[in-house]
Every structure is written in structure tokens, then in C-alpha cells.
């Protein structure tokens, strides 16, 4: 089984296929072709052996162990960066509502706002681990808190007139 020159990846400018062969990234058909060629071509055999040497050398480079507090540090960063934005997201409609100077539509709007605030309170910390049952039990308490928050907002609204009016 003699290898013709045009079948040699080293000589026909297709040495990349040898790398793929060494990395076991070829289809079975191509593997068979290369292996057949390798039996006849010393140059390609030497190349493949060298590639294995490079990988064996690289195996000797072990990475360092990871710091034990990596996860804790990440969760702390997430908690510190996420909370304000979650809070802003949920209070934004309230802020806009107040600045819009629309006036209170007691039943409908207050109900919607209470719901918004309950959701905001229950997701204030995405990394708080807490069984579902507990969340349900807390709901009544949270609605109470939301009502109190609404009262505070109402007070604020009375103290600070809507922006549009003051800026004129």
C-alpha cells in the first residue's frame, strides 16, 4: 500500500487534517484514510507523535485550586447589584404614577399597587432561601406592609407636589 504524494496531508497543504485526526475529530471514513496513509508515511507519523508529545507536556500543567469563598463572594455581588434594580423596577410604576399627578383612584389603583408591592417585597432578595409555605404565611403580613407603604406614599404625594407643576 504505497502512499502517493498527493495523499500526504503534509505535502498537499492539508496538515490541519492531521491535527483533527490526532484530536479524534474526524469521521470514521477519514480516520481510515489517514491511518492507511500513516502506515506508509514516516513524515506524518513523526508529526502525529510530536503532537501527542505537545499534549502530554500540556497535561503536566495543572491549574490552581479555586478559593473556597468564590461562590459566597459571587452571591454577595449579585445581591448587592441586583436589589436596587429589582426595587427600582417594581417601584417605577408607583413613581410615575405619583409624578403623573393623576390623583388616586382608590379601589382599582391602590389594589394594583398593593399587588405590585407584595411582589416586590417577596422577591426583594432572589438569594433568600425559604420554603414556599413560609412565603404564603408571610403574605398577609406583607399585604399589611404594602398597605402601610401605600399610606407612606400617599403622605409623600401630599408633601411633594408632582414634578410638572413645580418645574413650571
Amino acid at each position: 500500500m504505497n502512499a502517493k504524494n498527493n495523499q500526504c496531508p503534509m505535502q498537499n497543504g492539508n496538515a490541519e487534517i492531521l491535527l483533527s485526526y490526532c484530536a479524534r475529530s474526524l469521521e470514521a471514513e477519514q480516520v481510515a484514510q489517514i491511518e492507511q496513509h500513516l502506515t506508509a508515511c514516516a513524515e506524518c507519523r513523526a508529526w502525529a507523535a510530536e503532537q501527542q508529545t505537545v499534549w502530554a507536556a500540556m497535561d503536566a500543567w495543572e491549574a490552581e485550586p479555586v478559593s473556597a469563598d468564590f461562590d459566597a463572594a459571587l452571591f454577595a455581588r449579585i445581591a448587592s447589584t441586583e436589589q436596587p434594580s429589582v426595587w427600582q423596577r417594581w417601584t417605577e410604576p408607583v413613581r410615575q404614577f405619583l409624578q403623573g399627578g393623576l390623583g388616586w383612584r382608590p379601589v382599582l389603583s391602590a389594589g394594583a399597587l398593593a399587588l405590585t408591592l407584595v411582589v416586590a417585597l417577596s422577591i426583594e432578595n432572589p438569594f433568600r432561601t425559604e420554603p414556599v409555605g413560609q412565603t404564603v404565611k408571610l403574605e398577609a403580613q406583607e399585604i399589611e406592609q404594602a398597605e402601610r407603604a401605600l399610606e407612606d406614599l400617599e403622605m409623600l404625594r401630599q408633601l411633594e407636589p408632582p414634578e410638572e407643576e413645580t418645574s413650571l
Binding site: S25, V54, M58, A73, L74
Partner: protein, 197 residues
């Protein structure tokens, strides 16, 4: 891109979709699985453990922040290493890398003695291994950043050409030639190690 991964949603992508729905436990699972490979990749890219961990924090912070827009269009690891490569290449491009090089030798010495101590080799074996380690580290450090990223993903993360291409936002053929050139350089520097030790 990776059609198999798209056809059947893999476990990691499923977890990420749950993170999108606000499930922080799924994020903790993803972190537990992928933190070490990502940190090791960044460590070998930057060759400074403290900086690698700092960059890894940035990577996972980005993963968490992009949860809302996450779509499982590629394998999760491909997406993850796309972020990791981006963070590493930006870090190197911004020249922050150079400052770290000063403390590099000291730190790698510490890392090496820790690694070697646990295996209790003879003094001679230790010296051979130290020299070998140093040679590999330097050879990889001298590769252009993108070649380095490709080689590290190929060798240590065992990623396919298509995955590396997606991670580096290149074509598959570009990655093949990138890898080929990188290995040619490493071959010239490391092939003499055959039969040593």
C-alpha cells in the same frame, strides 16, 4: 450552529431557563458545575489565580444578568465560554495583563511547590518537573491571545471546533487554522520534551 444541542434542550440550558424564571437554586447548580472549568481557563489565559477568579466573578455575574434574554440557541458551555473568552480577551487587550506579569513568577512558584509537595517526589524529579512546567507555561503565555484561547478550549476544555468557533465568534475554518498555527508554535518549543522524565 450546534444543531444537536438546539434540537434537544440540554440539562444546563434547562437550568438556565429556570434561572430566567427566577429560580436561584438552578443558578447555584450551574455555578457548581462550571465554576472550576471557567476559572481554570481564565487562569491559563491570564496566568494569575487572583485575577482569574476576579474575571470569573465577572463572567458569572454576566451570566446571571443576561438570564432574562437567554435563549438556548447554542450549547450552554459554548455560550459560557463565549462570555469567558470575551472577558479574558478584553482584559488582555486593555493592557491590565501587563501589570500582572510582575507578580507572576512569584505566584507560579508558590503554586508549583504546593502542587509538587502533595506528590512527594525526589529533588531531582521536582527540578525536572519545575523546569517542564515553566517551559509549558511560558510557551503558552507567548501565544497571541486568540490562539491561546483556542488552544486552551481545545486541549483543556475538550471543545469541538464548532464550539470554539462560536465562543470566539469566528468561522470553523478560521479556528482550525488558528489552532494549527498555535500548535505549530508549541510543537517547536515543546516537542523536544519527548521521552524526558
Amino acid at each position: 450552529m450546534d444543531m444537536m444541542a438546539v434540537a434537544t434542550i440540554e440539562h444546563d440550558a434547562e437550568l438556565m431557563l429556570r434561572v430566567r424564571e427566577g429560580d436561584s437554586q438552578s443558578f447555584a447548580l450551574l455555578l457548581a458545575k462550571h465554576r472550576t472549568p471557567v476559572i481554570h481557563f481564565l487562569y491559563r489565559m491570564i496566568q494569575n489565580q487572583a485575577v482569574a477568579e476576579e474575571l470569573a466573578q465577572e463572567v458569572f455575574l454576566r451570566v446571571y444578568r443576561s438570564r432574562a434574554s437567554y435563549e438556548p440557541t447554542a450549547k450552554f458551555t459554548t455560550w459560557l465560554f463565549r462570555i469567558a473568552s470575551h472577558v479574558a480577551l478584553n482584559h488582555i487587550r486593555d493592557g491590565k495583563h501587563e501589570r500582572n506579569q510582575e507578580s507572576l513568577d512569584q505566584e507560579s512558584d508558590e503554586g508549583m511547590s504546593r502542587q509538587v509537595a502533595s506528590e512527594a517526589p525526589t529533588v531531582e524529579q521536582m527540578m525536572v518537573r519545575e523546569a517542564k512546567f515553566e517551559e509549558i507555561r511560558r510557551a503558552i503565555q507567548l501565544l497571541p491571545a486568540k490562539q491561546r484561547a483556542a488552544v486552551l478550549m481545545h486541549k483543556y476544555q475538550e471543545m469541538e471546533y464548532a464550539q470554539i468557533a462560536a465562543a470566539l465568534e469566528s468561522s470553523e475554518s478560521a479556528v482550525k487554522s488558528l489552532l494549527f498555527r498555535a500548535y505549530e508554535t508549541l510543537r517547536a518549543k515543546l516537542a523536544h520534551m519527548a521521552g524526558r522524565e
